[in-house]
């Protein structure tokens, strides 16, 4: 007897154009004060070229640890980071190279970390999925889905207790909203009035499964309604839309306001893990993939800046060249760097008394 091997979408589309790969391909509309967004191009290019370098390292076997790339999703990380300060506390997840770099984390420290080197940001003990740059306000990323969401709530509670207007930020994907801890955390943050910016990068996929196979609608903002948390849903490939939503949320959060959920609709160009585009997994992905590249967060921003006369081909070429050089130099250095010594295994386990 034949079996039906095609799973049925259960989710209804409530996002409309935001989730439509054919939409939002034009230049990004810039606000009157557009100067900061020229810098955003360089940051996004740095993220993309760094991740392409990492992808090449995965492909040729230089990098062995699991790498989850955010190519195509750069705008959400950069737009949020534009309104953070070094005393804020952001937490990431498995796909956090972009968050780390957007907040000013070291390119060389990232490369050395994915290579397992002693000079990595986690001293070679973490790899791609454990990044940290506390001096920049990036407090750590871990790959257990949803795990840093309650941790960010505690960081937000600490910020509230400190009383200096700092906030906590939790970056996670749409898959994390299916974890119980996410809902506990939203409720707890609301009850404690903890200033936590929950940033869901809804890229419509968790690993291989489309959100329509996992949830009754394709937007996660309804959970904010359920938990009494103010929220916004934006085109996550529009750095201006992201930054403006964050700026609006911060105005209240830094004045003693509680949590906020920002849903950024986006799409990853590579597979769940590794360097491949992985078009063969998941429903609808193959058809949408090419069109989503037309919603490129970098290309659209560059087009917007050019339309306003704030960038020309020469400036873009100079930025590209500068980024390429920094990536190349940081990589070359990281490849040469030493590995951690064997004794570090025990020494780094305990604060005191761990050395063998």
């Amino acid at each position: 007897m034949a079996v039906n091997s095609t799973p049925k979408l259960v989710g209804t589309d409530v996002l409309g154009p935001l989730a439509d790969a054919a939409e939002f391909h034009g230049p990004i509309a810039l606000p009157a004060d557009a100067a900061p967004y020229a810098g955003a191009v360089e940051t996004m290019l740095t993220i993309r070229r760094a991740e392409e370098r990492i992808a090449d390292g995965v492909a040729d076997g230089t990098i062995r640890c699991p790498c989850h790339l955010a190519i195509g999703q750069e705008a959400a990380a950069v737009g949020v980071a534009m309104h953070l300060r070094a005393t804020d506390r952001a937490f990431g997840a498995h796909r956090s190279h972009a968050h780390f770099l957007a907040m000013g984390g070291s390119l060389h420290g990232l490369f050395a970390e994915v290579l397992g080197k002693d000079t990595g940001v986690s001293r070679g003990m973490g790899g791609s999925m454990h990044l940290i740059a506390r001096e920049r306000g990036f407090f750590g990323s871990v790959p257990i889905v949803g795990a840093t969401i309650p941790i960010a709530v505690g960081a937000g509670l600490a910020a509230r207790m400190d009383g200096r207007g700092d906030v906590a930020v939790s970056f996670f994907g749409d898959g994390a909203t299916e974890e119980g801890g996410f809902h506990e955390s939203m409720n707890l943050a609301r009850v404690l009035d903890a200033p936590v910016l929950f940033v869901c990068e809804n890229n419509l996929f968790s690993s291989h499964l489309h959100i329509g196979l996992r949830q009754p609608t394709n937007s996660v903002a309804r959970y904010a309604v359920a938990h009494g948390v103010p929220h916004a849903t934006v085109d996550g490939n529009d750095v201006v839309a992201v930054a403006q939503a964050v700026e609006g949320a911060m105005a209240s959060m830094r004045q003693g306001g509680g949590p906020f959920l920002l849903e950024c609709i986006t799409y990853r160009w590579r597979g769940h893990v590794g360097h491949r585009e992985d078009e063969d997994v998941g429903v609808a992905r193959k058809a949408d993939h090419g069109r989503w590249k037309g919603r490129d967060p970098i290309g659209r921003l560059v087009a917007g800046l050019k339309a306003r006369g704030l960038m020309d081909d020469g400036a873009l070429a100079r930025t590209e060249a500068a980024v390429a050089l920094r990536v190349q130099q940081a990589w070359a250095q990281a490849v040469e760097d030493p590995y951690p010594a064997e004794g570090e295994l025990l020494a780094r386990t305990w604060t005191t008394g761990g050395a063998a």
Binding site: I132, R134, P150, V153, A158, A159, S185, P340, G353
Partner: protein, 326 residues
């Protein structure tokens, strides 16, 4: 010196910490209730305010994660789980997060969160209101596990846990809340250098336990002395990292070891104690005689006679020790 029971001694630790360390706060279920955590936290909310003594929604995972998050930001939170059973909903945050953040970020991050799990069993409470599971947690590198058996330790090891820069799981036992001891005034205590202690010296058999089981071992040693058997009693106190030297020294002398543990047998703490003694045994001294006394490997029952069969008493400790003498 003031005569103080184990439960109020825990409260003294909270009082000292909250009064002397502004970075300490406590968060968990039932903290504004007079009955959730026995007499161990009574009216702390009224004394120190609900901003530092925080009662929470029924969200063990988020509450524990929030404790870790605040610890990463300069605070020393104490997360309360009124039962170990409830704490299991937060295992990812304890085992996979708090215990590993230091190592996986290259030793650059300290997570000084203390998680307090309370063993609250007996009284026909059954399978899901009776677990201890300290062996599970003592298995985890990076997670210190502390289990006080006396009023003094209940207070001082809690202070030490909170002041330490590593995450600590502090497990206390409601069956010990009435045990009294003369206590000096509370003060700062370091967890470094704390470990198993010999509570009573003896030459014939070594009894090893932690928490309530250590208390039972001491009572059993009294009874054994009346039979002319001199038992040495070791209270483990700090289960992870476990310093085995007291066990090794004692069994070198007695040649007999009864590992007593108020938890299950299979892959448990009693097995670890025997393994430590066996591995270090000098063969020229002859074979080590060893036995375990634990709960049977079954979930805790509710029915009275089954509960009687499930939990061992001091008489069982005495009988097991005596059997090793034959």
């Amino acid at each position: 010196m003031t005569r103080t029971a184990y439960g109020p001694a825990i409260r003294e630790a909270f009082e000292w910490l909250l009064a002397n360390r502004p970075e300490v706060f406590t968060i968990g279920q039932g903290l504004w209730s007079p009955w959730y955590v026995g007499n161990s936290m009574t009216n702390l909310d009224k004394q120190f305010g609900v901003e530092r003594v925080i009662d929470t929604p029924v969200s063990e995972l988020a509450t524990t994660g929030a404790g870790l998050g605040a610890a990463l930001c300069g605070y020393r939170p104490i997360v309360i789980h009124p039962r170990v059973d409830f704490m299991l909903l937060a295992v990812d945050q304890i085992v996979t997060q708090a215990a590993k953040w230091r190592s996986m970020f290259g030793g650059q991050v300290s997570a000084p969160v203390t998680v307090r799990g309370i063993i609250n069993r007996g009284g026909e409470q059954g399978a899901q209101h009776s677990q201890a599971l300290h062996s599970w947690f003592a298995h985890i590198p990076g997670l210190r596990v502390v289990m006080p058996a006396t009023a003094r330790d209940a207070r001082d090891l809690l202070i030490a846990s909170v002041l330490h820069d590593d995450p600590v799981l502090y497990i206390d036992d409601r069956w010990l809340y009435e045990v009294e001891e003369e206590l000096p005034p509370a003060g700062p205590v370091s967890l470094d250098g704390q470990g198993p202690v010999v509570r009573r010296e003896g030459t014939d058999v070594t009894l090893v336990g932690c928490g309530f089981a250590a208390h039972q071992c001491l009572q059993a040693a009294d009874a054994l002395e009346r039979e002319g058997i001199r038992a040495e009693v070791i209270d483990l106190r700090v289960l992870n990292p476990l310093d085995g030297s007291a066990i090794v020294r004692s069994t070198a002398k007695t040649g007999r070891l009864l590992a007593v543990d108020g938890d299950w047998r299979s892959c448990g703490l009693a097995s670890e104690v025997i393994a430590i003694a066996a591995e270090s045994r000098d063969p020229s001294r002859g074979a080590l005689r060893a036995a375990r006394l634990t709960h049977p490997d079954a979930p805790a029952p509710t029915s009275k006679p089954l509960e009687k069969a499930f939990y061992f008493g001091v008489d069982d400790v005495v009988r097991s020790a005596r059997a090793l003498m034959g």
